[in-house]
Symmetry: C2
Subunit: 433 residues, 2 copies
């Protein structure tokens, strides 16, 4: 049974606070193991990567077979059904179209003092994308990570995807091909992250690593951060649905379950202004759980972390939503656009009853890599910006230096940084002599 | 003596690699101490903050005096000289004007399938800015951190600045006032970071913490990351000057020293296509070092980490610059604009001989919080973006769902996520019934 809360109950705040602070994931402490693996890859390069791949993935490779050849990719891709290929192509096209619009502009202008100011964006030179193997090897995640990198202009994009016992997911290779990935390596775990960050004889180092992974991958990303850039370390997934009574309870139930089926630690929340509707959704969830393929995952998630919250009105719903700062937010209400203006802390908003969150996972266009664990309060989903960096530009004319240099000199003196002040003063004196 | 390198020397690559990989900072391991301080503040709130402030800052405060009152700020500000006030006001005005141009646009459009897509930017609700006390208590850093936050629209901006033995820097308080800071607390160290992240009875928690600090502050920021957002953890500062022979060696020497005087671990590099000019700059540095107030800091920095590199031509200079990925890059060459198009990995570029880097530290307009330690390969300086987050928007019409829903269903099935597919299928069936 999920938690039922009502903002009119006297103990609502206690229950809501418990929900907000629920620790949903116990990360095993693998940091020492990961530190050893990274040291080993730094010291021995390919040899270490090959040994670790044999040990963890039961796969004997050589430096020559670490990377998928084009022919191997071609062969694997042929196994993909026409339906799946068409779906993946449509997804790639829509994701690319959305992310193309995110490209920021360079700017340059002259101000009243005569200074030319501005900034310029440039792409990271090389990026690496970690793709999990086995069950969580999602082609959609390849598209969501690789396409923004290529749209940003990353010249070299490498993927690592472990193939335990040699098992390859042809859809992952097709997604890599569609996204324009340049290199695909059949390695995984902390050793793959280390190889991407520090390089080996076979794998050139990258500047930025993104993509989801297990506890070992997450720990390795934390450790190499600084040497390279990383994306966020994602926690278990969440959805919040705000729905009024004019919804089909079964549709909302399926939306909640589409989050719950990801992970026993996922969290699915419903806020409604109609207690009877909330009850109907709870019943619909139970009915669907009876036959759902992944009920062994979705059931515990819903039971342990699910909640149905009844509120007085939608303003109250928006206020609670902002405290939750959900990764995914569905607004299934009469005027979703108006409500969306009030729900400002959310990774992605899905408006109206015809926009199930699953559309955003695959085909809508926006990225599905989104801030979890309430971090939508201060961070954003993956975008082309994650593969770009900005260089600021300043150019003073003699006149501009005369106009603003003395203030810089004064501030340098007030901070006791003499050489700072002198570097301005020497030029001003030179101009006046 | 700094290192002299020449790309025509056979062992240049070895020398350059040594320069790139020089470990310039030994961070003391304060993690265990910091973990205890954070736990203490979480458990005991104000009481812990007050005790730790008495212990580390030799300052006995109460919950009532933790925060500067408006009257106290007014009184301190009156001590600032008219020159310093005018300089700080001009800096604030120019920094604000630059950062206002960074504000990104919301977007919303309808695509061919009938889907409405877009994104919306919103500000972090509350931010905290750490300002070091004592010698490194720089009013310019207050402006550089606080103004982007206020331009972004952060409603509540709090500053913590330790006042050891009660010593207050009036310029820091004036900078806070000019930047529109809402709350100023006279606390510092890991306890200040913990208070900002978790809140106490007196200090409400924030969503994002930025600003420089010592090893304790850096360790505390790393530990609270995830609970709140943080900016980068800055390393020691760097400058690279690329200069041809048509420059005043003394000006370039002062630019190199303006970095070296920050910290014994700072790094100042010169690349020139004229070996004799490089020699002249080295001599000018030595001459200036004889009288420089901070020669005890700048001298060791220049001796241990400084370098003068002679190259064949400016293309070679640009290539080396991109490998260095400097925090600050000065281009003192005939056509700095053209060269700047080739030096893409840099935090900030200063063009031409009338733009000493010190202008950017104080008054130019661009931010002086910039990526150090080669991280300009993958990251950017502080900006309004650090105080904003993006929410993506998707809205399907029945027609849009009919057009793209089946592809989402197919991809969900290929990833064995049944509820994802059903959440789309149920709606499609509903539309067709």
């Amino acid at each position: 049974m999920p938690v039922f809360l009502n903002t009119q109950d006297p103990d609502f705040e206690t229950g809501f606070a418990t929900l907000l602070s629920a620790k949903r994931e116990d990360s095993p402490d693998v940091d020492a193991v990961v530190a050893d693996i990274i040291s080993d890859v730094r010291a021995r390069g390919d040899a270490a990567v090959l040994e670790l791949t044999e040990k963890f993935d039961r796969l004997k490779l050589s430096a020559e077979t670490l990377r998928f050849s084009d022919a191997e990719i071609d062969e694997a891709i042929e196994k993909v059904s026409a339906t799946d290929r068409a779906a993946l192509e449509l997804a790639a096209e829509r994701i690319r179209a959305y992310h193309l619009r995110q490209m920021p502009q360079d700017e340059e202008w002259q101000d009243a003092a005569g200074a030319t100011l501005g900034w310029r964006w440039s792409a990271v030179s090389a990026a690496g994308l970690y793709v999990p193997g086995g069950l969580a090897s999602y082609p959609s995640s390849v598209l969501m990570n690789a396409i923004p990198a290529k749209v940003a202009g990353v010249a070299r994009l490498a993927i690592t995807v472990p193939t335990p016992d040699g098992l390859v997911n042809p859809l992952v290779l097709l997604a890599a091909r569609l996204a324009g990935v340049d290199e695909v390596y059949r390695i995984g775990g902390a050793q793959a992250v280390a190889a991407l960050a520090y390089g080996t004889a076979t794998i050139a180092p990258v500047d930025k690593i993104t993509g989801p992974g297990n506890a070992f991958v997450a720990a390795a990303k934390r450790r190499v951060f600084g040497k390279v850039g990383i994306d966020m370390i994602a926690g278990p997934s969440e959805i919040l649905v705000i729905a009024d009574k004019n919804n089909n309870p079964d549709w909302i139930a399926l939306d909640l379950l589409s989050q719950a089926e990801h992970d026993e630690s996922a969290q699915s929340l419903l806020i409604t202004d109609d207690a009877a509707f909330g009850q109907a959704v709870a019943e619909a969830v139970d009915a669907r759980l009876e036959t759902l393929e992944r009920r062994a995952i979705a059931g515990p998630s819903w039971r342990d972390f699910g909640a149905i919250i009844t509120v007085r009105d939608l303003d109250e719903a928006a206020a609670l939503s902002n405290r939750i700062a959900p990764e995914h937010l569905e607004l299934c209400v009469a005027d979703a656009d108006v409500l969306s203006l009030k729900t400002v802390h959310a990774g992605a908003i899905f408006l109206g009853q015809y926009t199930p969150e699953a559309i955003g996972d695959y085909i809508g266009g926006p990225n599905h890599v989104l801030p979890t664990a309430r971090s939508a309060r201060f961070s954003s989903g993956l975008s082309v910006m994650d593969f770009l960096k900005r260089t600021t530009l300043s150019k003073m004319t003699p006149e501009a230096l005369r106009a603003i240099g003395p203030a810089a000199e004064a501030l340098a003196q007030s901070e006791s940084l003499e050489a700072h002040g002198l570097s301005v003063r020497a030029r001003l004196d030179g101009l006046n002599s």
